[in-house]
Symmetry: C2
Subunit: 384 residues, 2 copies
Amino acid sequence: MIYLDNAATSFPKPDKVYEEVLRCMKEYCANPGRGGHYMSIESGKAVMEAREAICSFFNIRNPMQLSFTKNATEALNVAIKGLLKAGDHVITTTMEHNSVVRPLKTLEKELGIELTFIQGNEYGEVDIADIQRAVKENTRLIAATASSNVNGIIMPFRKIGEIAKAKGIVFLLDAAQGAGAITIDVEEDHIDMMAFPGHKSLLGPQGTGALYVRENVILKELMQGGTGSNSENVFQPEIMPDMLESGTLNTPGIVGMGAGVGFINSFGLENIKLYKAMLVKKLHDGITEIGGMKLYSKNDINHNSGIVAMNVDGIDSTEISYVLDKVYGIATRAGLHCAPMAHAALGTMKTGVVRFSIGCFNTVQEIDLVLNALKEIVLKTQNN
Amino acid sequence: MIYLDNAATSFPKPDKVYEEVLRCMKEYCANPGRGGHYMSIESGKAVMEAREAICSFFNIRNPMQLSFTKNATEALNVAIKGLLKAGDHVITTTMEHNSVVRPLKTLEKELGIELTFIQGNEYGEVDIADIQRAVKENTRLIAATASSNVNGIIMPFRKIGEIAKAKGIVFLLDAAQGAGAITIDVEEDHIDMMAFPGHKSLLGPQGTGALYVRENVILKELMQGGTGSNSENVFQPEIMPDMLESGTLNTPGIVGMGAGVGFINSFGLENIKLYKAMLVKKLHDGITEIGGMKLYSKNDINHNSGIVAMNVDGIDSTEISYVLDKVYGIATRAGLHCAPMAHAALGTMKTGVVRFSIGCFNTVQEIDLVLNALKEIVLKTQNN
């Protein structure tokens, strides 16, 4: 199978990820921070090493400000619901995933917050001036994706961060598609909170994610439970990361997430970016050359995190995706990608798009096979 | 290391669990239910097979009523916060873990619910008549542990279920220490909601847990996000299990949890119970025989899920646990075990207890070594 669904979850993982997950499970996996014995301490150390490696990757200075979650969705819910109060105004974009849209719409309905959705251009890119203009007295949060999961467009998040900083507004970056795919620096980019999964471009296992919270941003936790700290207290401790990490952590998963980051570091994020950009450009250019298809992604490294979104003229995306899978063994994702507003913005609400999402283990040969398949499909369509 | 901290997380796991987790990660792990391609469908199937196996284990008739969570703590938060409204009365016990106590105390403070804690006897066992007497007009929920994580005492949960059913009250069972250790049947035991982890007696990996919700119990979800269903809707779908499963699931973890249940089935839960009860009795009797120690657990299979809680007279639990680890290589857990009210009930709030929690991979030889170690420690203490 040619796997081009890396935006859903990356596959395969680096060998080191498999090895470290298994080694953790088989050799030392006790409950981290929940006991003083050797294995518990080893597990605690392994979690701390992963926490530090991940923080260092994003220039997060205090590792205690990173809390592990089960996925980016949990991290986004914790960030959004932990911060907002009735009457707050939130600026976001039409390119957001349902993991941002649904919590916000729920709070709008149930808590009474106010929402402004900034409309992007034909690729979904927002105009910074529009964000600037949307700021109001009660604007508490700007929530934006680093890169769209539909077409890979990279948002001008550093500039958004600058506006947020200047106005004293909290900036939440949804880095679900960005983390491990593009360069993110929480200091340079003025990011106050960042939610990201471990199992996408960070190359870790499923069941992992994290939320970074800047020291001066005070959240209310979404869940309470055992933290292994302040156990005599029947209320949740307010120290980070314990406050946001109730219950047993996914130690092997976190270790694997750390190993994924280790792989990226050893290969070099810049190298991975260049390699994937080359594949994106090849696929994008090939599709243009064949013709009979419409593209919804840009094809340069500064505006695309690794996705080619397209449609064959006049045919529903699910049909093309189905044929690619059944006839050619090529895994893509069709439909709405849990991002209806993004599709509305791109004008693809009815047809969806066929999404090719490229990972660092894809090859030039695979892209050639994809282009041959598309050529055949388009030819067949035109002959019908 | 002699691992006797299975109540924190079980170790080791059955070989089949390691194998299936790794096979999933290496061979087919895409995003389940998020695409129509071969690998995504394989992942979806694997999750469904695990869901069915786990449901069958607890006699849950409709697998769609089981939602996967990251741990039991998340499941408990979803159950408690999803159900309760201002003015509701909740009956619970003093033997609960902080994963039950902290969400309830938080709702008492912030939402205005009313709490009644039923006090147990010297072992923490509650009197059913006390629960019956505590029921009020506005009692909406009874939340009780299946078995204490401090001393292993098994609660009379079937009888609690009968009361709840008769009075039309929702019964939530915290099966963190019970699931996979004692027999639980959601029909026979009249359980309306059940929260449990995958990584304790069910022998699955960390990062897994689940919440069962009976069809007629309507919850509000704690988190919203992408569900792969109703993607065009900016609000959370209300169908189970999607409603409670936002974001990417932990596919390898869930597969491993299913493999853990498969192992229990192949060995037989009754056989595992008998084997562990034999080890518990051996350790318990041995401690009594040595003397100079106080026991807080019962020693028979009907009243103990696999824990021997004890203290050496006059010495803090953390000190004993430390010596057991450093000198003898025996892993236990001292302190309060995230259950302060249980320790208050047992009279061990100051000293904590040393908790030996037994798993199905412990051996008679290991218990002999533990008893020898305890004998030496007690002797040394008495000579000081």
